[in-house]
């Protein structure tokens, strides 16, 4: 008697689900989540297989990394979102970019007093490569750009301003827009105040603005020991 009661209840529940099913003509969310769980396991296996064959390629070949990143972006996946993600754990892409992020922050900190927190991508690239040493994995400018994009999540004004064919990397919070006319306006008050631009009122003709970040001679100067001590928080 008791069992039949339970049976009847279960049948009623099933009928209700079937009605729901027919009503919506679609699969229930909970079923889909269960399906996703299974697909995830399969995907993980596929990724492991891929990693065992091609992990080296990603490590060594910056062109391949670009391809990989672009494909991920196209399908709506961010392989660098979390260190806990499959991409990071199995392909090792995460550690590569997150470590690069650390190196970028440190270089910017060390040089901030020289350039006010604004540095060309070239100069940043130069210092990062130097810091990594002769035997480290190669790093392309595309790699730097992607690492910096991730750093933006942490506030603190990390950003990139397109200038010429390349970028200026800023590491301090400041409203900066590199439209030419706006640069001049900005230079007049904000940049001067912040130490990002210098006013040369003794220049022949009209007063001139200098942006230390763009001084090419600074490019060749290495990070001094005092500056290096600024790097480690």
């Amino acid at each position: 008697m008791h069992r039949r009661g339970v049976g009847a209840g279960a049948i009623a529940k099933k009928k209700l689900a079937e009605v729901k099913y027919k009503e919506r003509g679609t699969v229930l969310a909970e079923d889909q989540i269960a399906q996703m769980s299974k697909q995830l396991e399969t995907f993980k296996t596929n990724l492991e297989e891929f990693a065992s064959k091609h992990k080296q390629e990603i490590r060594k070949n910056s062109q391949f990394r670009v391809q990989f990143q672009e494909m991920c972006a196209t399908i709506g996946v961010d392989p660098l979102a979390s260190g806990k993600g499959f991409w990071s754990e199995m392909l090792g892409v995460g550690d590569f970019y997150y470590e690069l992020g650390v190196q970028i922050i440190e270089v910017c900190l060390a040089l901030k007093h020289r350039n006010g927190g604004l540095i060309t991508l070239d100069e940043l690239h130069h210092h990062v490569l130097k810091g990594r040493g002769k035997f480290a994995q190669d790093v392309s400018q595309d790699d730097l750009v992607r690492a910096i994009k991730k750093l933006k999540a942490m506030g603190n004004g990390f950003g990139m301003i397109p200038v010429g064919g390349s970028y200026l990397v800023q590491s301090v919070p400041a409203e900066l827009n590199m439209d030419h006319t706006v640069v001049l306006q900005l230079a007049e008050d904000h940049l001067l105040k912040e130490g990002l631009a210098w006013l040369d009122s003794q220049a022949a003709g009209e007063p001139q603005y200098w942006l230390p970040a763009l001084f090419s001679e600074l490019l060749s100067r290495d990070i001094t020991p005092e500056e290096a001590s600024q790097m480690t928080p």
Binding site: A29, Q39, A81, S82, E99, V102, K134, G157
Partner: protein, 344 residues
């Protein structure tokens, strides 16, 4: 300059300019080899330990040596790749398959034969290069297939997210949490659930607790506050591997309050994000700013930073905060931003 060449049978060492000058050793003579990392004033090396020379060894530059090993010194680069290739050859031991048809030549007549041998090696290098190219195209192919599968996952997750948005009651709390962790694994942004349930997953909760422990001392040392980028560097340098992504850090810090940990993530008006100790209250910071400014008459952010041993960025935020609360006022000129006690 010298070049080291590796074949399936031998290790060769020859002069870059004079190709006639070349010595070699059969790979079968190698017992074991190891890398030595570069250091200050010394190049990276690969040290190769050898069996004692056999009785029938061909004559060479030396008949005997008191050493049982050789060192290859890589002045610029190449050590990583060479080590890898040597490992491959030593694992495969292909010299055991094909009998060495001719003895290693020495003497003037052998000059020509030696050149042939070297051409053979160069051909092998070319084959290897072609194979690498083939590997890359294979890798791209495999990558495309993988992306197809990933795309399916994305579509599925969108469908689920929409359902959640439409009817909240249909899935349990547990299932939502599981779903969020799936999104995290795949690197798919969660568009919908973030609003109702926050961005934290089990992983972020654990992380938040770890950070709570780890950051106590560093925060105390730095006046109770650290920029998030500083925290990022500190934590990742300590970890060494399995690093945190910037988003991982932010999402974990957002959980401090709900987990009742004594830390807080704080975003200043400027957009600067910091982690601060709960115990270091706002009032204390403002009072300290006012005291210091009054004491010195006026202060810039740089001066204040030096006084307190803070970074300029955070010193500035404190001054701005005190100003916001009406305790300080500013003198803003092209010479910089200076703060004075507010006497109004």
């Amino acid at each position: 300059a010298k070049i080291v060449l590796l074949s399936t049978h031998r290790l060769l060492w020859r002069d870059q300019k004079n190709h006639e000058c070349c010595i070699c050793i059969p790979l079968s003579q190698i017992i074991f080899f190891e890398e030595q990392a570069a250091g200050i004033g010394k190049s990276a090396k690969i040290v190769i330990h050898l069996h004692p020379a056999p009785e029938n060894k061909e004559p060479g530059p030396y008949q005997h040596s008191k050493y049982s090993y050789i060192e290859l010194s890589f002045k610029e680069h190449g050590q990583i790749e060479f080590y890898r290739r040597l490992t491959e050859e030593m694992t495969q031991k292909r010299w055991e398959n094909t009998p060495v048809s001719q003895p290693i030549p020495t003497g003037p007549k052998a000059g020509r034969t030696r050149a042939v041998g070297i051409v053979g090696i160069e051909r092998k290098l070319e084959e290897k290069r072609k194979e690498t190219d083939k590997n890359i195209s294979e890798a791209f192919e495999d990558l495309s297939k993988l992306m197809e599968k990933a795309k399916e996952m994305v579509e599925l997750s969108k469908s689920i997210a929409n359902k959640i948005k439409d009817k909240q009651g249909d899935i349990t709390e547990d299932e939502t949490i599981r779903f969020k962790s799936y999104l995290l694994s795949m690197g798919i942004a969660n568009p919908v659930t973030r609003e109702t349930h926050g961005s934290g997953t089990q992983y972020h909760i654990q992380l938040a607790k770890q950070l709570g422990d780890m950051l106590q001392a560093p925060l105390e040392e730095r006046g109770g506050m650290m920029a998030l980028t500083e925290v990022y560097c500190l934590v990742n340098r300590a970890r060494g591997m399995e690093l945190l992504s910037p988003e991982d850090l932010v999402n974990a810090c957002k959980m401090f309050e709900s987990l009742k940990l004594p830390l807080r993530l704080r975003v200043f008006d400027s957009g600067v994000m910091v982690v601060q100790l709960q115990s270091h209250s706002e009032e204390e910071m403002i009072a300290s700013a006012l005291d210091n400014v009054s004491d010195k008459g006026s202060l810039t952010a740089e001066e204040f930073a030096k006084l307190l041993g803070l970074s300029v960025l955070l010193a500035k935020e404190r001054l701005l905060l005190a100003e916001k609360m009406g305790h300080l006022c500013r003198d803003d000129s092209v010479e910089g931003l200076r703060f004075y006690p507010n006497l109004f």
